[in-house]
């Protein structure tokens, strides 16, 4: 199979998956009890009908879906019932950059901390440094962000005053959020890096290089690192998607206006079109990341391409 056909088939699979996600979400959210206009003040029946008509919710579901899908292809995600006066497009346009910012900075933090720690631990394998660092990393993986976040907020924001604990405009709370989010992935990357570095360091060519008289640091960075970093690279795609879409805990704790908050609130508000919109965006993001990773892997290793 040549490269072009491989890409085309991967792309086709992604698009089919995307369509399924959109369709399933559309019908699934309608099955949930409750509705977008229910509230403490009961709305009289005739007004409810008007409201449903205004938002196009009075038509049979299949017709609504066809109409929704048609609009979607034109890039129109429809109105949001939870944020009156805003379209889903506007809501996402405001929220997505925030989520992307948090995600990318979080990834930078994860790499900047995770890789050196992993390499350092591998270089000092089975010493107390190694054990200490790996225990710390395990702690980082096990402690959920909703435990770490308030602790960091208390220490770095309220006690030390380096950060703000909340708000968006004129506030650096998002940076603290990104760092908190990055810590979890840093811990994961540290363990991943250590394991693959050890793998490489045990191989014959390393021993040969050492025997030729190359210094340990030289071997570490010139010979081992290139081979050892591979698994981390292939982890980047899913990690970035996870960082961007999985930030709702962080967004809630630091009061950040990202897409994660909408993802949750839209579901509890029964804001049908906003649910569909956020799910679609996240699905595109995750499918795209996986697509890119597939391509990179195929480029690195022709066997993957052949299996395609």
């Amino acid at each position: 199979m040549d490269t072009a056909r491989y890409i085309a088939s991967r792309l086709g699979q992604s698009l089919i998956a995307l369509f399924c996600i959109i369709a399933v979400t559309f019908f699934l959210v309608r099955l949930a009890p409750g509705g977008p206009f229910l509230d403490e003040k009961k709305i009289p029946e005739h007004l409810l009908e008007n409201m449903n008509r205004a938002y196009g919710l009075d038509k049979p579901l299949p017709i609504q879906f066809v109409r929704y899908f048609g609009n979607l292809l034109r890039g129109d995600l429809g109105p949001s019932t939870g944020n009156k006066g805003y379209s889903v497009n506007e809501v996402i346009a405001q929220g997505l950059p925030v989520s992307l910012g948090i995600g990318f900075v979080g990834l930078a933090v994860a790499l900047a901390l995770g890789i050196p720690i992993g390499v350092f631990a591998a270089a000092n394998r089975n010493t107390w440094i190694d054990h200490g660092l790996m225990a710390l990393a395990l702690l980082g993986i096990c402690l959920p962000t909703f435990v770490i976040a308030p602790l960091l907020a208390d220490l770095l924001a309220i006690r030390l005053g380096w950060f703000d604990v909340a708000l968006w405009e004129g506030s650096n709370a998002w940076l603290l959020g990104a760092i908190t989010l990055g810590l979890f992935y840093a811990a994961y990357i540290a363990r991943l890096t250590r394991a693959s570095m050890l793998d490489v360091l045990n191989q014959d060519f390393i021993r040969t290089a050492r025997a030729k008289g190359v210094s340990f640091l030289g071997v570490l960075f010139h010979h081992a690192f290139r081979g050892g970093i591979g698994p981390v690279v292939s982890f980047l795609g899913p990690a970035l998607a996870g960082l961007i879409s999985g930030a709702f805990v962080i967004e809630t704790i630091f009061g950040l206006p990202g897409l994660g908050q909408h993802f949750i609130k839209a579901a509890t508000n029964r804001d049908y079109l906003l649910i569909n919109g956020t799910v679609t965006v996240f699905a595109v993001l995750i499918l795209f990341m996986n697509f890119v990773v597939d391509l990179v892997q195929a480029w690195l290793d022709p066997r993957v391409r052949a299996r395609g």
């Binding site: 409750g34 030390l160 005053g161 009061g255």
Partner: protein, 539 residues
């Protein structure tokens, strides 16, 4: 040696250097009030909103005929109307509008703007959640339900540009209080229709740069899930007496985040305080913690159409077995008041009958009367709550009280998310459900009208001809004392039949920076921002 001393010192200096001036201190100097405002507002269109947080923003942007006094709920402050008068029956009202009221684009505010607003909120096409507030107007309900097609038949007329005449469906001596509500605010016709049809629910008219308002402030920016910022409106008729330069309303959903933001010096005011942090502030006598009477009641609805809550004696047993004092002292902890009736006693003069109190003997007696020899005979039923830690802990406490006092063992607690919960309650698909009600205006009818047969907020299936009759009769009385007496009688019927189990009367518990001046306790918590000042009082 030197390095050992200087390095830590230098580091310390860097850390201290990071502690720049707090955001609230800068804002106090600049005259910008920073408010935590709960969640994201659902809209800024006065005809689409219903939540308290939405109304908080609208009060800055718009001004109605009558507005709130900064410290006294019984005083009606002139807003766009300079003065007003009514006939002795309190059914015909005339508001005389000030001639210097201006929209934020310089247009004069006229009586036509109000009539336009009333016709818009009542328009069936608008499907406004608060349209029922305008049922006070003659034929308001008929027009809203589509029975009357011509708005000319509704009791709201502009006489010239500066006189507004309202004919009411029934006497309402408290009408000036009613028109303070956000549902009676004027809107700017030209702006609304520039961006779409009169009743189109999702046009751009309410966005920054488009919204034209007539209040002390105008909209500057709005970022979803972050903030709404308003700045002084230069065209406001009383602009010279507005002290604040602007207000930032922050949408912070998480109560713990909001409290942390306050401690961190990011906001002047919190919308609420997490229950379990209240004792910490209280024990240290922190003056920033405020706990004030708030016209609202926390109660349980009983479904009177299904067993076992269809039995009035059984409902009485449940009511008298709730130790309200324990709940306010050990569960809610915010200084709430045990509710001996449904309507909270008001400064405006209404005193509800004192009926409900914790009385275990009476409770057990009623349980016997209801036909249960012992509590364990009572069939299983559930208390439905909407998912929230606070509601959960109250329900658990009451479940335990019913078990200890009455021996009722088979009470479940079911939590449902908000929208599902609403559906369950509206469908009468429950036995006991938690509820809360906040006054829309300062008059007992805001608490009592809803229990009339078939009222959309009744939601208990309860119907009582005597009660309905008393409420109807009270509506014909213009004399406040006679009217209150009649309403008291009605409330006595309600408290005897108990389709609702009152638990406590609300308090507003929040944190307020000492820099904020002129923020006094108000029953409805509707603070008029134009009277608020910021002064640095130091820490």
């Amino acid at each position: 040696m030197l390095r050992r001393v200087y390095l830590p010192l230098a580091l310390f200096a860097v850390l201290v250097g990071c502690r720049t001036e707090r955001k609230v201190d800068v804002a106090t100097r600049d005259g910008i009030l920073l408010l935590g405002n709960g969640g994201e507002p659902r809209a800024l269109d006065p005809h689409l909103v219903s939540a308290v947080g939405d109304a908080n923003i609208l009060r800055a942007l718009f001004e109605g005929l009558v507005t709130n006094h900064p410290s006294d709920d019984t005083i009606h402050e002139p807003g766009v109307a300079e003065r007003w008068e009514s006939n002795p029956e309190a059914t015909e009202w005339t508001f005389y509008l000030r001639r210097d009221a201006r929209w934020s684009n310089g247009d004069p505010v006229t009586a036509h703007d109000f009539v336009y607003a009333f016709s818009r909120i009542l328009d069936p096409g608008m499907a406004s959640p608060y349209a029922t507030m305008l049922y006070f107007l003659k034929n308001g309900e008929a027009y809203n339900s589509g029975k009357l097609k011509d708005f000319g038949g509704v009791g709201a007329k502009a006489v010239g540009d500066y006189e507004l005449h309202c004919s009411l469906a029934y006497p309402a001596p408290y009408f000036p209080d009613v028109v303070k509500h956000t549902s009676w605010l004027p809107v700017h016709q030209a702006t609304i229709e520039k961006f779409g049809a009169k009743t189109a629910p999702f046009t751009d008219w309410q966005k920054p740069g488009n919204l034209v308002s007539n209040g002390a402030f105008q909209l500057e920016s709005w970022r979803i899930n972050a903030s709404v910022k308003v700045v002084r409106n230069p065209y406001y008729w009383d602009a010279k007496n507005v002290s604040l330069r602007g207000i930032n309303f922050y949408a912070i959903d998480n109560v713990f985040t909001e409290e942390a933001a306050f401690r961190n010096g990011l906001i002047h005011y919190t919308y609420s305080v997490p229950q379990n942090l209240i004792p910490r502030y209280r024990d240290s006598h922190d003056p920033r913690l405020r706990s004030e009477t708030y016209a609202g009641v926390y109660f349980f609805r009983c479904n009177v159409t299904r067993a076992p809550t269809d039995n009035a004696d059984f409902r009485r047993a449940l009511a008298y077995a709730i130790d309200q004092q324990v709940i306010v002292d050990y569960v809610t902890m915010g200084g709430q008041v045990p509710a001996f009736a449904f309507t909270p006693p008001s400064e405006a003069g209404y005193q509800p009958p004192s009926v409900i109190a914790y009385d275990p003997d009476k409770a057990r007696e009623y349980l016997k009367k209801a036909g249960y020899e012992k509590g364990s005979d009572v069939p299983e039923f559930a208390i439905i709550i909407n998912t929230s830690e606070a509601h959960q802990s109250i329900a658990v406490a009451i479940q335990d009280m019913w078990k200890k006092t009455l021996g009722i063992t088979k009470v479940k607690i079911e939590n449902q998310e908000w929208k599902v919960f609403q559906q369950t309650v509206q469908d009468l698909n429950y036995s006991v459900s938690r509820a809360g009600w906040i006054a829309d205006y300062v008059d007992p009818t805001t608490f009592l009208n809803m229990w009339v047969t078939g009222d959309s907020n009744n939601e208990t299936g309860w119907s009582n001809a005597t009660y309905d009759g008393l409420i109807r009769e009270s509506a014909q009385l213009a004399d406040p004392a006679a009217r209150y007496a009649k309403l008291r009688e009605a409330e006595a019927v309600l408290l005897d039949e108990l389709p609702v189990l009152p638990v406590y009367w609300y308090t507003r518990v929040y944190l307020l920076s000492p820099d904020v001046q002129g923020w006094d306790p108000l029953l409805l918590d509707n603070h008029p921002y134009k009277h608020i000042r910021l002064e640095s009082v130091g820490r």
